[in-house]
């Protein structure tokens, strides 16, 4: 009896499963989609029209595609070193001059008997390897001001506004050559609209006026004094001198080659003392080197001295003035020194804020 029931049950089960299977197979898998569905799909398909492009002159074609560009980092180390006293430059490595020699060469071509421009400006072109700490990362374009020991007429108009509270500091800054020096009354003038901040390229402030100066943060935006860009500090006279006499330069990456950066800066005139020019170049190079990324290898790859109207480019060795490679220990020391130096103004700021 039991067995009969069990077989019956099994049969029933089998029957059920058979039905289920039949149901599965009967679904409209192989049948075509409904009419409306087809229409929808057809509408979804966007017709790709192939536009016929006519002839484009070569000079108007997009320059970003399919153009092989030569590497801008010139490496001539595979060339020979000249042994003769007269030689054809193109077959050999570029001669590396000392700064004094290069200046002497430029003075020759600019001599009154030749080009007759003895007071031509001496330009420095610094080529940089802009690669960051990783191969795919690059150093951003940067704009800085290098302090130089021997000033010259750079031909730019630089207006400096200085904010400070102390009377001594006002005199000090004015003597150093600031265009406008003032305290709280100056801030009031600016907020009232009587004075335009956009007339001034550089804004310098003493930490003691910082709480009041915060009101102008919206107007100043990126120009707001901060210790990182060295526009906020205690030594006002030094900062004013730096911003009025310093070399302003900007490093720009090449449009097509991201790891090639170039700085063009003027370091003086040819009639200046050669040693003074060398000092200026040294300070400029040291300032550029402070932007070096934390990686091995060179940051400054080549330094050329140029002077218009002559087209000569004379290579000098920058590594006389700066370390060639990244020195981990030196970087650590300088960072620690910075850390030690930084808390001072911060604590003063805090003190000023609490006042």
């Amino acid at each position: 009896m039991l067995t009969l029931i069990s077989t019956m049950r099994a049969l029933a089960v089998r029957q059920q499963s058979g039905e289920a299977l039949r149901c599965l197979h009967l679904t409209a898998v192989t049948e075509a989609a409904r009419k409306g569905t087809r229409e929808k799909a057809r509408k979804k398909k966007v017709k790709v029209e192939v536009k016929k492009v006519g002839f484009i002159p070569h000079n108007q074609r997009d320059k970003k595609i399919n153009v092989k560009r030569a590497d801008k980092h010139v490496d001539d180390s595979w060339k020979q070193v000249p042994k003769d006293d007269v030689y054809v430059g193109r077959y050999y490595r570029w001669p590396v001059y000392t700064v004094a020699e290069a200046i002497q060469c430029h003075r020759e071509t600019h001599h009154p008997t030749m080009y007759n421009v003895p007071n031509a400006s001496l330009n420095v072109e610094i080529e940089l390897n802009m690669q960051g700490e990783k191969a795919t990362r690059f150093v951003d374009n940067f704009q800085r001001m290098a302090m130089i020991p021997h000033k010259f007429d750079h031909g730019e108009e630089r207006k400096i506004i200085v904010f400070t509270k102390g009377n001594e500091e006002i005199v000090e800054a004015r003597e150093a050559g600031a265009t406008l020096v003032g305290g709280v009354e100056l801030i009031k003038d600016i907020t009232a609209g009587e004075l335009l901040l956009s007339d001034y390229q550089f804004i310098i402030a003493h930490p003691n006026i910082l709480p009041e100066l915060v009101a102008l943060r919206g107007l100043m935006k990126r120009k707001f004094p901060n210790p990182k860009s060295e526009t906020l500090g205690v030594n006002l006279a030094e900062m004013v001198v730096k911003f009025s006499n310093g070399i302003s330069y900007s490093a720009t990456k090449d449009e097509y080659q991201q790891n090639f950066g170039l700085i063009k800066a003027n370091v003086g005139t040819l009639d200046m003392d050669a040693q003074h020019l060398e000092e200026n170049i040294r300070f400029l190079l040291q300032d550029v080197n402070s932007m070096r990324p934390k990686r091995d290898g060179r940051f400054i790859t080549r330094v050329l001295l140029k002077s218009a109207p002559s087209s000569e480019q004379l290579k000098i060795d920058p590594f006389v003035y700066i370390p060639e490679f990244y020195d981990k220990t030196a970087a650590k020391v300088s960072r620690e020194a910075k850390k030690e130096a930084e808390p001072e103004p911060q604590s003063k700021e805090a003190a000023a804020a609490s006042n």
């Binding site: 003769d84 006293d85 007269v86 077959y91 001669p95 020759e108 007759n116 421009v117 002559s310």
Partner: protein, 257 residues
Amino acid sequence: MLKNLCTTQLYLLKGANNLKQQVRTTFVLKRKYEPLLHKTNEKPRRLRAKHFIYELVEDTQVKKRPNMEVVLKTFVEGVGDKGDVVSMKPYFVYNKLLLPGLATYKTPENIVKYSKTEAEKSAVQHSSAYAQRTVNMLESIVLAVIMNKDEPWVLEPWHIKASLRKAGFHCKEECIKLPTERIEGPDLRKENKEFSCIITINKLEQATLKCRIHHWSTDPSERLPYVFEHWKLPAEPLLESSQIEAPTSNVQKPTVK
């Protein structure tokens, strides 16, 4: 004849010592599918078709060949002096040195045979391998000496040195010998007139350099009109005596504009 043949064969055999290179028909391959290991004490498994698919690891035919060392029999411009052992690319060595008979294979015998004798050493003809090339290039150009149109000047060796540097030639002041007559200016009658000076390379080789005076003013409006490819045009001599020295100008390479 037979004797000659024998000797050449002998030399060939000597030279063959240097040519211990494999025949370049070798391809280094790697199996794409590695066959499985077989069990110990059993026959290896049968290799399937896929086990005969290979990947190319190295084609020795396109490999860069190492430099060859040869002994120079004579002075060769741009290569070296007699008896020098030079290491150059093999095709250059074969086509430009061995076939013309300027060099032989480096063997101890050849080194001894072609080394310079005392007499040859004392009679120096060439200061360096590249001096002759410099001479040729200096003689082929017309150097533009740009002098001022407003300031008085007397031509000095350093003017030529600076002009040469602008044209891509580097030299020292001592190497330049100007004509004995003084050349003074500014004088527009001297504009584009040719004179020659002598450049001495390594205190040995001498090259006559054709120079032309051009007047230049700092003020752009005062400058003389530009003459298109002026270095290709014939020029009058500046000095009477240098007429013999200055050769007739052919088509020259451009130098400084």
